[in-house]
């Protein structure tokens, strides 16, 4: 069983569209994250969600909104997609103290 799974793996869409990326973890972790990896491979945290508390990286445009239906899921919804949103988006989760973060396989988003 995959610990952190994301769908879809690839997403190609036109500018202006709205899209969602789904993430599920079966590790029982309390905290989930979304990271963005740009074309230079730089990883930057976008959001974290811990016990219904959402922490937003202030540099993230409000077109991006995370939605957590339950503790095991953290989806990413993006409105009005722009060319600059093209990147690989990683979902991750982390459990109790002294544990590492587990990452999904990533979703490569291409906006055309």
């Amino acid at each position: 069983d995959t610990a952190v799974s994301q769908t879809p793996k690839y997403l190609v869409t036109q500018m202006g569209n709205d899209k969602s990326i789904k993430c599920e973890q079966n590790l029982g972790h309390d905290t989930m994250y979304w990271y963005k990896q740009d074309s230079k491979k730089f990883l930057k945290i976008m959001f974290s969600y811990n016990n219904k508390e959402l922490i937003i990286n202030e540099t993230v445009p409000n077109r991006f909104s995370p939605k957590s239906p339950d503790k095991a899921h953290l989806n990413l919804h993006i409105n009005s997609l722009e060319l600059g949103d093209s990147a690989v988006y990683f979902c991750a989760s982390r459990g109790s103290a002294n544990t590492e973060a587990f990452f999904g396989q990533g979703t490569r988003l291409t906006v055309v």
Binding site: V4, T31, Y33, Y35, K40, K41, F42, L43, K44, I45, S48, Y49, N50, E53, I55, F90, A92, R94, G95, S96, A97, N98, T99, E100, A101, F102, F103, G104, Q105, G106
Partner: protein, 114 residues
Amino acid sequence: AQSVTQPDIHITVSEGASLELRCNYSYGATPYLFWYVQSPGQGLQLLLKYFSGDTLVQGIKGFEAEFKRSQSSFNLRKPSVHWSDAAEYFCAVGPPWGADGLTFGKGTHLIIQP
């Protein structure tokens, strides 16, 4: 503010040679340190982590790292690289748990030449 510096963007090593990837961090509290590897088109896999105790930590695939508090460093080493080690390597620092997440370095791209 916390930060991670990986000074080498690219490193080329001959197969069978030793490897050291550098990582320096800045963190206001006790650092929790990680090395992750990303193969092309793949997610991030944890190689090793340091939380406390012995400053030399062993990881998977024959990797090890040494935490040096005085130098704010957490360098990754491997005595003999294999062609399959070619990948992107990321050093990260973060809290022991919780919502702050991990701060990553910009990565080092490892090339293995025959």
